[in-house]
Amino acid sequence: MPKKMARSRPLFDRQILGRALTDALRKLNPLSLFRNPVIFVVEIGAVLTTLLLARDLAISAPGAGFALQINLWLWFTVLFANSAEALAEARGKAQADSLRKTRTDSIAKRLAGGRVERVPSSQLRAGDLVLVEAGDLIPGDGEVVDGIATVDESVITGESAPVIRESGGDRSAVTGGTKVLSDWIRVRIVSNPGETFLDRMIALVEGARRQKTPNEIALNILIAGLTAIFLLAVATLAPFAEYSIAAAGAGSVPSTTVLVALLVCLIPTTIGGLLSAIGIAGMDRVMQHNVLAMSGKAVEAAGDVNSLLLDKTGTITMGDRQAVEFLPVAGVSERDLADAAQLSSLADETPEGRSVVVLAKQKYNLRGREVGEHNAVFIPFSAYSRMSGVDLDGRRLRKGASDAIGAFVRERGGRIPQEFAEISERISRGGGTPLAVADGGKVLGFIHLKDIVKGGMPQRIGHLRKMGIRTVMITGDNPLTAAAIAIEAGVDDFLAQATPRDKLDYIRREQAEGRLVAMTGDGTNDAPALAQADVGLAMNTGTMAAKEAGNMVDLDSNPTKLIEVVAIGKQLLITRGALTTFSIANDVAKYFAIIPAMFMTAYPVLGKLNVMGLATPQSAVLSAVIFNALIIVALVPLALRGVRYRPSAAAPLLRRNLLVYGLGGLVVPFPGIWAIDRLLVLMGLV
């Protein structure tokens, strides 16, 4: 297992926390806070109450201690909300810093008219040709046009094992800042300075180019609208109070400070303060999986995906086929067949060959023998004979394609048993590859080679189905084989003998029916499909064209990641919905705290609404404000980490989340506000 660079860091580390706090202060600037309407309103309220406090202090009005505490907690509310966002950003910035360190300006060897000239890499332009030799940093993003080299890409991927980069084919893309370890390559630069992959990656993780996603914008409208409604409700409380005081002949109009306090408690500060942090943290979580999302929109779209196009090889199945069964013809024992198969494979270093040896050992405890002493002569596989095997002690053991073995046996005067074709056919139909085994003129039987579906894959596909996501297997196999594996893996559909064109058409068809499609790809000919898909996850090992076309790049080049990305997208949306619901549900309790407190003097009988039994009107208002501020802090970890997400269908998911965040949001503030009230009384603050 290669060592990974530490991508995930603890939620709060000292350095990040320090940076976040400074940023939180900087974000107090109304010009930047303006974009967050809810918290902006809180800030205006805080400024207003500060001015009123200053006036009260100047004329030494009574009750300044209470006003001071309200005022402080209003400022805390703004700061807490700001630091949530700052914290999320700081985590990204820390990552950007470590990336930026690698972006040292290197000297490039530019090829011009057969000469090598040394220029700073910052002067390279798209189209330039450069030579990179062992020990050099690759000066910019490009395509290998000539040569082959091992490259250390750990800067980008965190993967310490070097990778091969060569001209032509799907492994020709190189990334600026990575290092050639051996040999040399000639590279055509494809991006101008400032636009390289590394630059974009830094910009992304820093949040510099972060744009609000459509759903975030809509949610912002909702909470801004609620803020406006509560502004109306609180502003009109003053005339209602005036009427009521006149009617009751007692009491006093609530002070502006108290009205501001009520307003801040009612407007959805929780979600308002955490909304952008949730989005940034979602991107960050994707990043921790070593996937680079080109926009928040892509992550959001991942949560919405209806159909997942998965490549068979490497995603659903292991890369190689493996022997799973020995099927002897009549008159041959399975053990003899296994023995012959193992002998014929001892020198076969292909994964298939090794799997035959292992299977024979597992099933019949046949040890790999030292065959040197038996005058063994190994016959390697050739495209001409389509067989391999061994000659030893006069035996001529061969394994290979059925027709090749058939011909071999007949040549030696052997007879082909009637079940020979039958077994071969049966294996093929089951999605396997039949490998016939013969000993000279005698047919022994078959090795059943099979694509092995990755462990846990059917369960994961089952989970996806529960989440309402169709999985589609893409394979180059014939339909027969494809169908068998599709059934075994449990996918909903498959595309056999798929060409890039077929993929593109399939995606378009799905989209025409209103579905959102996600896929992975690496080759240049995948690019159109990657661009067409709503979520296109390109492999980092893939070509530059593929990386450009997709909206995410998996730095580990592990196609199975697509499933995780979908889960992160869903988790992001759930977190948003959960905190919005929680935030709105909270209001009920706050009304019960503040309304009786406000009008206790005019209508003492309203004390019956003081269900929490809060000590005094002042303590009630203060407790609600403090609860409102602290709940933001309390929910920061949830916003950054995302709510717990287990794949399941929408109905049970909604039921559970409504119970936790809806009902929880209704109930939790009651004991919370009550406890704060008790503490305030104990500490003598009211």
Binding site: L222, L573, T580
Partner: protein
């Protein structure tokens, strides 16, 4: 609570449940232009209307065209109605010789807006103000037209959900015509005949002068009542021919007519929920809306009933019988008709305020504080508890959009409802409607609570806006709040106790009615246009299910929390504090 009381509410609800499906299916057919059993008779009428008015039946409108047509139609209706009132002296059928002097400009404005917006708030007293001609050609016509317009908007919004990537949402003129010809006219006709059979009058006679048993004389107003009474309920209008509305024996003579009138009020709003389900191709969606409306309606009905039946502790303390017996209804009978009793009155109050109808058969002002809180609360939810003809459904769909948007994210997908993505545009329009209506209720109520004018001023002769109140204290605040909630919710019922026929109240309540009507309709038509242009996504197990009990609860919760949270302070200073004070033996 008595057994008969409980049964009355239960039987009524059962009747609504039974009528929902057949009527809803019929409506779906009508608005899709498909053949119904009435077509042989009425299709020629429909075609004649198109030919005479130059309407092209197959020409569809984008949302802007649809909204433009509706606004133009409403403006025209307003102008006609205003002029009819001011010029009533010129027209026939005016045995009492009412003239412009009976209808001041501000009152005519208020009444014209009121009937054009399907509110039917009545700052005037029908029998003392308006000629038979104005009642028939003005008010009754608007009773049909405003209800048909409301239904048209609901159908347009349904089309927004139902259609696939379409630019258009139907033709306003066609929807208006079909609603009137196939639905409102036939049902009203049958209902009016039934009402006549029960004793509701229909004549053009001068007011009768009769000798009472005590030897005094009494003037008994007459008029074409039955024809207006049926559509008053069916179109959730609520504007009574007489000031006493459905408490008047000529409008609502028997318990049977009372039951039928209640049925007429909820019939179309309930039926439209099924129409919704049918038109979007999944009747469960319609039943879910029906269920959400029901779980908001039934607790209200029982709360009002129980509160009225348990009566007033102050009266109980002074020895008045408050418990029911075979010969005595018990409870709070003040302002209620003996022929209806407590259950049928409380039920009527809950229905009429849930449905933005505004017809009343008892005086809500005389209800106990909690009994009176139910009607106010119903109106403050933007009239979605079955709601107005059309208005109830589109109001509830507005909340469905919000409910889906707020909680729908919790299934891990960007929100969608009936296969349509709910995005910024829809949320913006829904919030615009909510903000406008909240602003209307709160700002006007707040202003009226403190507005101080000189006595004898033109704008409000009694002086301060609170000078128009018959009751002080928290009850006075309830009266003002009720008036603006009623206007904004396009309900039209009055708490009474507030003399609203002054320029201040006529103008502000008129504005409230306009805001409550058009700041919901226009944004929702815009949302319909945006929804219509979207692709309809297939449902999967990952999609938020919007037809189960979970969603129903969620939707009802959204109505209560989002719709009413803004009014909690006002309510606690009105009916809630009054309730507590009543138990401390204080009245207002």
């Amino acid at each position: 609570m008595t057994e008969t009381g409980f049964l009355q509410i239960a039987v009524y609800f059962l009747a609504i449940l039974l009528v929902t499906r057949p009527l809803g299916a019929f409506l779906a057919y009508v608005f899709a232009g498909r053949r119904t059993f009435l077509h042989p008779l009425l299709r020629p009428v429909e075609r004649l209307i198109y030919r005479l008015s130059g309407i092209r039946e197959d020409a569809e409108q984008r949302w802007t065209g649809y909204a433009g047509a509706l606004l133009a139609f409403s403006l025209f209706s307003f102008l006609v109605l205003y002029l009819l009132q001011r010029l009533q002296g010129w027209f026939p059928f005016n045995p009492q010789a009412f003239g412009a002097g009976n209808v001041t400009p501000d009152l005519a404005f208020n009444t014209a807006v009121s009937f054009m917006t399907n509110t039917d708030w009545q700052a005037y007293s029908g029998e003392a103000t308006l000629s038979y001609f104005v009642q028939m050609a003005g008010l009754t016509v608007q009773n049909f037209a405003s209800a048909a317009a409301g239904m048209a908007v609901a159908i347009a919004l349904i089309r927004g959900f139902a259609c696939e990537r379409a630019g258009a949402i139907g033709n306003f003129w066609v929807d208006l015509t079909r609603a009137t010809v196939y639905v409102l006219l036939p049902i009203s006709l049958v209902a009016a005949l039934f009402l006549c059979s029960q004793g509701v009058i229909q004549n053009w006679l001068p007011y009768a002068q009769v000798q009472t048993l005590e030897g005094g004389t009494q003037i008994i107003p007459q008029g074409p009542v039955a024809s207006q009474e049926a559509i008053k309920e069916l179109g959730t209008n609520g504007g009574g021919f007489f000031n006493a509305n459905s408490a008047h024996p000529y409008e609502n003579p028997t318990p049977l007519t009372n039951f039928v009138e209640m049925l007429l009020i909820f019939m179309i709003p309930a039926g439209l929920t099924y129409t919704f389900g049918k038109m979007v191709g999944d009747t469960r969606q319609g039943w879910a809306i029906f269920a959400a409306m029901s779980i908001l309606f039934l607790p209200g009905a029982f709360t009002a009933y129980i509160s009225e039946q348990s009566g007033n502790p102050i009266l109980a303390a002074s020895g008045v019988q408050q418990s029911p017996s075979n010969l005595h209804p018990g409870g709070n009978m003040e302002g209620k008709e003996v022929r209806f009793g407590i259950a049928a009155s409380a039920l009527f109050a809950t229905i009429t305020t849930g449905a933005s109808c505004g017809a009343v058969n008892s005086m809500h002002d005389s209800y106990t504080p909690i009994g009176g809180l139910v009607p106010i609360f119903n109106m403050l939810t933007n009239e979605v508890i079955f709601g107005g003809a059309g208005a109830g459904l589109y109001g509830m769909l507005l909340f469905a959009i919000l409910a889906v948007f707020i909680a729908g994210l919790m299934v891990g997908r960007t929100p969608e409802y009936i296969g349509k993505k709910i995005e910024g545009k829809e949320v913006k329009m829904a919030m615009l409607a909510l903000i406008a209506t909240a602003a209307s209720v709160l700002l006007f109520t707040g202003a009226s609570g403190v507005l101080d004018l000189a006595e004898g001023s033109y704008i409000n002769p009694p002086g301060p806006a609170t000078g128009n109140l018959n009751n002080q204290g928290p009850h006075g605040l309830s009266e003002i709040l009720y008036a603006y909630a009623s206007g904004t919710g396009n309900n039209g019922s009055a708490f009474a106790g507030l003399n609203a026929n002054t320029p201040w109240y006529n103008l502000t309540i008129g504005l409230a009615m306009l805001i409550g009507r058009f700041f919901i309709i226009v944004p929702l038509l815009a949302a319909a246009g945006s929804l219509a242009g979207k692709r309809r996504l297939p449902a999967s197990s990952g999609t938020l299910p919007t037809h189960g009990p979970l969603f129903v609860t969620l939707l009802a919760g959204t109505v209560v929390i989002v719709g009413a949270l803004a009014f909690f302070p006002a309510l606690s200073l009105g009916p809630i504090v009054e309730h507590f004070l009543m138990h401390e033996m204080r009245v207002f």
